[in-house]
Subunit: 432 residues, 2 copies
Amino acid sequence: MIRPVELIERKRDGGELRAQELEELMLGYARGEIPDYQLAAFCMAVFFRGLTSAETYALMEAMIKTGETVDLRSALGRKVVDKHSTGGVGDKTSIAVGPIVAACGVPFAKMSGRGLGHTGGTLDKLESIPGFRVELSTDELIAQVQAAGMAIVGATADLVPADKRLYALRDVTATVDNYSLIAASIMSKKIAGGAEAIVLDVKVGDGAFMKSEADARMLAQTMLELGRDAGREVVCLLTDMDQPLGRAVGNALEIREAIATLRGEGPPDFVELVLAAGTRLLMVSDLGLDEPDARTRVLQALADGSAVEAYERWVHAQGGDPDEAALPTAPLVRELPAPRAGYIAEIGAVRVGQAALHLGAGRQTKDDEIDHAVGVVCLCKRGDRVAEGEPLCEIHARSEEGAASAARELEAAYVLADEPPAESPVVLDVLA
Amino acid sequence: MIRPVELIERKRDGGELRAQELEELMLGYARGEIPDYQLAAFCMAVFFRGLTSAETYALMEAMIKTGETVDLRSALGRKVVDKHSTGGVGDKTSIAVGPIVAACGVPFAKMSGRGLGHTGGTLDKLESIPGFRVELSTDELIAQVQAAGMAIVGATADLVPADKRLYALRDVTATVDNYSLIAASIMSKKIAGGAEAIVLDVKVGDGAFMKSEADARMLAQTMLELGRDAGREVVCLLTDMDQPLGRAVGNALEIREAIATLRGEGPPDFVELVLAAGTRLLMVSDLGLDEPDARTRVLQALADGSAVEAYERWVHAQGGDPDEAALPTAPLVRELPAPRAGYIAEIGAVRVGQAALHLGAGRQTKDDEIDHAVGVVCLCKRGDRVAEGEPLCEIHARSEEGAASAARELEAAYVLADEPPAESPVVLDVLA
């Protein structure tokens, strides 16, 4: 039996841990035999010393072994694809991409999480759809993917339980920001969840975990290696999170934007990301398409209405009402006027996320209730030219006080300039 | 109210914490409102980033504020002196120095701890004296110092409770080895305990916390500053812990050696340290002696029998039987013969400490019972010349198996050479 204090000390002093040691550490932790305080010290030592590639892989495998795994290949007889984002502001990509991929005949299954702080969670967004059930058993998940072509569900408690406990611990001990720990956490769930091919969207910028492109590349590279070593196909998109993605930030507002995008009416930056992610998902699927063919199929699914149909089939299968009119709306909508004429040089993603959070769209602590109707719609985006008094964004609020307070936060988020900012794409790079 | 995770993050990123923040952290921890895992992450961040002088002082003050303090000056109307060692193998200095100082008319009061691992604790040693009570109330402590001139007691639960909890946590999270945390821990107890003048014995070498003289100097300097900033007089002795101190290692054996030393029959290295510590204690006492006068008074107390009388008065006052014959003895005494002729080049202090520990003289875990009779007597010390087969040490054991096992450990502790080692003093330096 390992002595956890010796492992902590070795990592603290820059040494390497063996796979067997990391496995005992994680299994002991998941069983409650190794206390939180030893893992907290361990994670802080990892923050300073890092993990080698071998250690990161061993940690991921160890976390997977603390719970159950799903074998979608055996259950469905098909290669199932998954898409995961490291989290940002206004990121409703999976909700649009899933139906596109399903419309193209590729099974899509995703286990997702909830939001905390300024980044929203896909499950929270989906729960703004009346009747939508995010908690499906593994059997229900498989049956739904067979019948409706796709599913997005909450991870069951049995999937990587060590990660759940460890993530909550890292969140309160300032040990989140380490790319080995982030990569092992994300990839353990993806691999335990059974997807064979995964498109990862690694966000970089103000509103993302990874503030610099160098850090984002390091995280992407680490996840690529983990996936490959586990025998999965992985592609990483490096994407911009310096401004909110698309226009809508807030749960029901984002569902509306996803539906609009499936109808071919999405905002340009979001459409760019949806096309890139959809194309990559078809390329790693068992259709075996090359990039031009995959892109053509994605565009076709958007143009011929099959993507919207796939969305309706999916939401319906998961108990929800796919009608846009069924989504909740906020009692008040207020506009924020531009204080002067000029070009929009910046829209601080964190500030917009915080404004939505304070309106009630997110959670400040785990137990907060979410207001699905509220949020922000960025009518203007980076690079747009505005006249003085022209509305920069809409604030969807529960009260006038809430709207006024959000307006102050949003004013600080928008930076206006006389010259247009340099153009920058949403998809910064693709690593495969 | 502070958010602990923000303080952890700031320290992790190399920032500085304010006194008020450290106070809230410690008070919240002592009240059980801030959990162990946040302090574990904090201590590991401190391990890597260190604490500034101001932070170290604030941490010490914050720890003191979590409990009660004793004001010996008001209670006794005298300046009370105290002596503290950072811990080593065979360190029975306080048990000899206390009576010397008391014999010179200077009140001596010390709150002490128990041993864990290869270093023994003064309280454990004293408990080998039949009847000796280490748990005195503050009123009993004061009354005894008034009546018998001195007391050595266990710290009450109310004295720096945050330190007790934090030390236990650091012990299992590999965050002991940081001189700011060590210094704040030691000095918080000394200052809360009420001594106005303190002689600190900072051990350096194989058997000590601080393996290098540079580290020991850093720790000594930190403690000197903390003491002065708190308005106490502090002197640090830097002393050798590369071999056991004196000959005896083990509880009753060490009490016997302390008594022998008070009779003027102590081993040279131990006598050197006792004289140095006694002299410094008289110099910082309200007698206001200079070094030559203080040394003369110490030698006088040893020569005229008053130190032995002070020992007997003290032990008696604290409920113990001062008669050496009352101390427990081990059923077996076995000698370890020198494997060859030569000079003793080294006696590994940790190895001797471990041998005594495994004989039963110490605790491997907090709940272990101690065997007060067993231990090791190093008949020969570093620099001695031995003939082949001449006994290097005595093993005082409970069983033949125990003695044989200890013999193997002790064989590895002794290093013999053809040339005598360079002479080195016990007291390496005095910092004041």
